[in-house]
C-alpha cells in the first residue's frame, strides 16, 4: 500500500492507523480506503475506537503511528485548522453565544470574505438544509432536528473534501431519525463529497452507506457493501454484531461438493460449501440468520434439524422474536412474521423441533 503516489482516485486512505493511550490500544492498524464521493459508515459497539478514529480523521486526536491521505495528500504535517475534513458532532456542539446565521457563518468569517457574498452563501446553505426563516433564532430556541441541520450547514459551508459525522442522529427521535437519514443521503449526493458516518446503529449504516466498515477492539473486522456484511459476515464478531444471526460452532467432519458437515454440540449441521473450503478437523462457525430458522413440521426432511426449548417471545411490532435454549446451553433467536394461536406463556418451556436449510447456513472463521 503505497498510496502517496496514486493520485486522486481515493478521497481518503488510512494506512495502518494506530493509537495507544498508555497500555490501552484504541486503534490497532486501521486500513481503510474511501473512494470519490463515497458514503462510508463505520460501525461498531461502544468502545471499539470508532469515535477516536473519526477524531483522528478530523485532526483533533493524534496517532501513535500510521498515515492518512486525503486525495493523495499526506495530512501528517497539516495543522488542525487547515485540514479539509469537517466533523459534525453527536450533540451538535453549536455556539450558544451566536444565533443560527452566525453559527453557519463561523467558518467563512475566519478568513477573508465579502459580507454580502457571505450572506448569500449562508442563505443558500440554509435553503439546502431547510432552515429558511430560522436564521435569527438563538440556538436555545431550536429543536433537535433543527440543531442538527445547523451543525450540518456550519460544516458544509466551509466546503470540506470529506464530511465526518459522529452518530449525528442518535439524539433524535425515531421518526425524525428516519427522515434525516433520507436527507443526509440526498445531501451527500447533491454535494458529491465523501461522508464518513460513525454509528452503532446498523439500520442507519445499512440504509445510507455505500460501504460499511465494522470495527471491533480497534481493528477493522470487515469492509463491504451493506448486503455483503449482512448476508456474508466474514468473522464471528461481525456475524454476532450485525443483523440477527445464530452461530453454531464445531469441527469439520466431511466436505463434499454441495455441503460441508460440521459436528457440533447440538448434532451434525450441514452448510453450503463455498468457493473456499475448510480442512477436515478445523474448528469453524456456522452462521444462520434468525429468519431462516423455522419450526419443523412432519414433512420437513433432509434439512438441518435441532431440538430446542422455547424460553420466551419478544413482540417487535411487525414480527416476533423467539428465544430458544439449545441442548448445549447456548441461546438462539428465530424471527417469525406471525404465530397465531398459542399464547406465549403456554409455549414457554416446551420442547420444539427446529430446522433450517443447508442453503441458509454459511461457514466462517476458517483459515
Amino acid at each position: 500500500m503505497q498510496g502517496g503516489k496514486a493520485v486522486a482516485t481515493k478521497d481518503l486512505e488510512l494506512i495502518g492507523i494506530t493509537r495507544r493511550f498508555g497500555e490501552f490500544v484504541a486503534l490497532d492498524g486501521i486500513d481503510l480506503e474511501v473512494g470519490q464521493g463515497e458514503f462510508v459508515a463505520i460501525m461498531g459497539p461502544s468502545g471499539c475506537g470508532k469515535t477516536t478514529l473519526l477524531r483522528i480523521m478530523a485532526g483533533l486526536e493524534s496517532t501513535t503511528s500510521g498515515r492518512m491521505l486525503v486525495k493523495g495528500r499526506d495530512l501528517a504535517a497539516v495543522p488542525i485548522h487547515r485540514r479539509p475534513t469537517r466533523l459534525v458532532w453527536q450533540d451538535y456542539a453549536l455556539f450558544p453565544h451566536l444565533n443560527v446565521f452566525d453559527n453557519i457563518a463561523f467558518g467563512p468569517r475566519l478568513g477573508p470574505h465579502v459580507p454580502s457574498e457571505l450572506r448569500k452563501k449562508v442563505l443558500e446553505m440554509a435553503d439546502l438544509v431547510s432552515l429558511e426563516g430560522l436564521l435569527d433564532r438563538r440556538i436555545s430556541q431550536l429543536s433537535g432536528g433543527q440543531k442538527q441541520r445547523v451543525a450540518l450547514a456550519r460544516a458544509i459551508i466551509t466546503e470540506p473534501e470529506i464530511l465526518l459525522l459522529d452518530e449525528p442522529l442518535s439524539a433524535l427521535d425515531a421518526h425524525l431519525r428516519i427522515r434525516m437519514q433520507g436527507e443526509l443521503r440526498r445531501l451527500q449526493q447533491a454535494l458529491g463529497i465523501s461522508f464518513i458516518y460513525v454509528t452503532h446503529n446498523q439500520n442507519e449504516a445499512f440504509s445510507m452507506a455505500d460501504r460499511v466498515a465494522v470495527l471491533n477492539k480497534g481493528r477493522v473486522e470487515q469492509v463491504g457493501t451493506p448486503e455483503a456484511i449482512y448476508h456474508h459476515p466474514s468473522s464471528r464478531f461481525v456475524a454476532q454484531f450485525v443483523g440477527m444471526n445464530n452461530l453454531f460452532s464445531g469441527k469439520v467432519a466431511t466436505v463434499s461438493e454441495h455441503y460441508t458437515e460440521i459436528a457440533s454440540d447440538n448434532g451434525p449441521i450441514r452448510a453450503v460449501t463455498g468457493s473456499k473450503s475448510p480442512r477436515i478437523g478445523e474448528t469453524v462457525h456456522v452462521v444462520v440468520q434468525a429468519d431462516k430458522i423455522k419450526r419443523a413440521t412432519a414433512h420437513t426432511s433432509n434439512e438441518n434439524r435441532i431440538n430446542a426449548i422455547l424460553r420466551g417471545r419478544e413482540f417487535a411490532g411487525s414480527h416476533n422474536v423467539y428465544l430458544f435454549d439449545l441442548p448445549n446451553g447456548n441461546e438462539i433467536k428465530i424471527v417469525s412474521e406471525d404465530e397465531p394461536g398459542s399464547p406465549p406463556e403456554k409455549l414457554s418451556g416446551s420442547p420444539s423441533d427446529l430446522y433450517f436449510s443447508v442453503r441458509d447456513a454459511f461457514i466462517i472463521g476458517f483459515q
Binding site: 478530523a58 485548522h81 469537517r86 444565533n99
Partner: protein, 310 residues
C-alpha cells in the same frame, strides 16, 4: 388556552418545587438577611437624614447633611475629589485584577491536567486564608523605601532603579488586587471551566487558529464571568479603606493628586467629627455609587443578541 386552564385546575399536582418545604427552608435565610442586613441597611439610610443637637443625633428627616456634603464636593473637604480618587483607584485595580486572574484561570483550565486542577485552584486561593491586614503589612515591607525590593535593587547595583511606590495610590491598588484575586479566581474558574471543550474543537475544526478560537469562542463565552468579576472587584475596592491608609498612606499620590479615597474620608470623619448622621450620609452616597456600578454591570450582562449582527 382555556382547555389547558381547565386541565390544570382539574389535576392539581404539587411538584417537589412547590412543596411547603421550600418556604420552610428559605425561612432562616430570609430571617437572617431581614434582621442582620435589610433592617440595619434601612436604619442606616434613614440615619443619614438625622440632625445633631448638643452633640447628639436626633431623629428627623432633614436634608441638611446631604446639603453640606454636596456643598463641599469640590471645595473645602473635597468629597468629589475623594469619590474621583476612589473610582480612579478601584476601576483600574478591578480591571487589572480581572485580567491577571483571567490569564491564570485560562492557564489552569487549559494547561493543567484535569486531576491537578483542584490543587492548582487551591494554591491560587490560598492567600485568602491569611489575614488581609497581615498581607498589607507584608506589602509594606516589600514596597517600603528601604523595603525588600529596594534593598535587593541596591544590593545588585541597580540603586538608581529604586522604586518609590509606597504611599502612592499604585501601592493602594497592589494591596487591593492581592485582596480580590482569590475571589475572582473562583468566579472566573467556574465560568471558564464550564465552557464546553467540544466548542473549542469545533472552532479549530472549522478552520480557526488558536488565537481566533480564543477571540471568537472562549472570550465571548467568558463575558458574563468577566463582567461579574470586574463589577465585584470594583465594589469591594470602592468600599475598602485599609489598603488606602496602610499602603496609600491616607492621601496617597496619583494622577488626581494627593487626595485620600472616599472611604478614607469617611473613616477620618468618623474618627474626628461628632456628626455621625453626616458621616452616615457620606457612606450612603458610597452605597449608591456601588449600586450604580452593579446596575451598569447587569446592563452589560444582558445579551446584546436581540438584533441580528450581520
Amino acid at each position: 388556552m382555556e382547555n389547558s386552564a381547565i386541565a390544570l385546575r382539574g389535576a392539581k399536582v404539587r411538584t417537589p418545587n412547590q412543596s411547603w418545604l421550600r418556604e420552610f427552608c428559605l425561612l432562616p435565610a430570609v430571617a437572617w438577611y431581614g434582621v442582620f442586613f435589610f433592617g440595619p441597611l434601612c436604619f442606616f439610610l434613614w440615619f443619614g437624614f438625622w440632625r445633631v443637637e448638643d452633640y447628639s443625633p436626633v431623629a428627623d428627616f432633614s436634608l441638611t447633611n446631604y446639603r453640606e456634603i454636596f456643598a463641599n464636593m469640590f471645595t473645602g473637604s473635597n468629597y468629589g475629589w475623594g469619590i474621583a480618587q476612589s473610582l480612579w483607584v478601584s476601576v483600574p485595580a478591578a480591571l487589572i485584577a480581572t485580567t491577571c486572574t483571567y490569564l491564570v484561570v485560562l492557564a489552569i483550565v487549559y494547561g493543567v491536567p484535569a486531576r491537578r486542577q483542584r490543587l492548582a485552584l487551591l494554591l491560587t486561593v490560598a492567600p485568602f486564608w491569611s489575614s488581609y491586614l497581615l498581607r498589607l503589612y507584608a506589602w509594606q515591607i516589600i514596597l517600603a523605601r528601604e523595603g525588600a525590593i529596594n534593598s535587593l535593587l541596591t544590593a545588585i547595583g541597580l540603586g538608581e532603579w529604586r522604586i518609590a511606590l509606597m504611599y502612592t495610590q499604585i501601592a493602594t491598588r497592589i494591596g487591593l488586587i492581592h485582596y480580590v484575586t482569590p475571589i475572582l479566581i473562583i468566579i472566573l474558574y467556574v465560568t471558564v471551566s464550564n465552557i464546553d471543550r467540544a466548542l473549542i474543537d469545533v472552532s479549530r475544526n472549522l478552520g480557526a487558529t488558536r488565537l481566533q478560537t480564543f477571540r471568537k469562542v472562549i472570550l465571548p463565552l467568558s463575558r458574563v464571568g468577566l463582567i461579574t468579576s470586574v463589577s465585584f472587584a470594583t465594589i469591594i475596592c470602592l468600599g475598602d479603606f485599609l489598603s488606602g491608609s496602610l499602603l496609600g498612606g491616607g492621601g496617597g499620590t496619583s494622577l488626581i493628586g494627593r487626595v485620600p479615597t472616599f472611604p478614607d474620608m469617611i473613616m477620618s470623619e468618623y474618627g474626628s467629627s461628632s456628626n455621625l448622621p453626616r458621616t452616615t450620609a457620606m457612606a450612603s452616597i458610597l452605597v449608591v455609587i456601588m449600586l450604580i456600578v452593579l446596575a451598569i454591570s447587569i446592563r452589560l450582562m444582558t445579551p446584546a443578541l436581540k438584533g441580528n449582527r450581520r
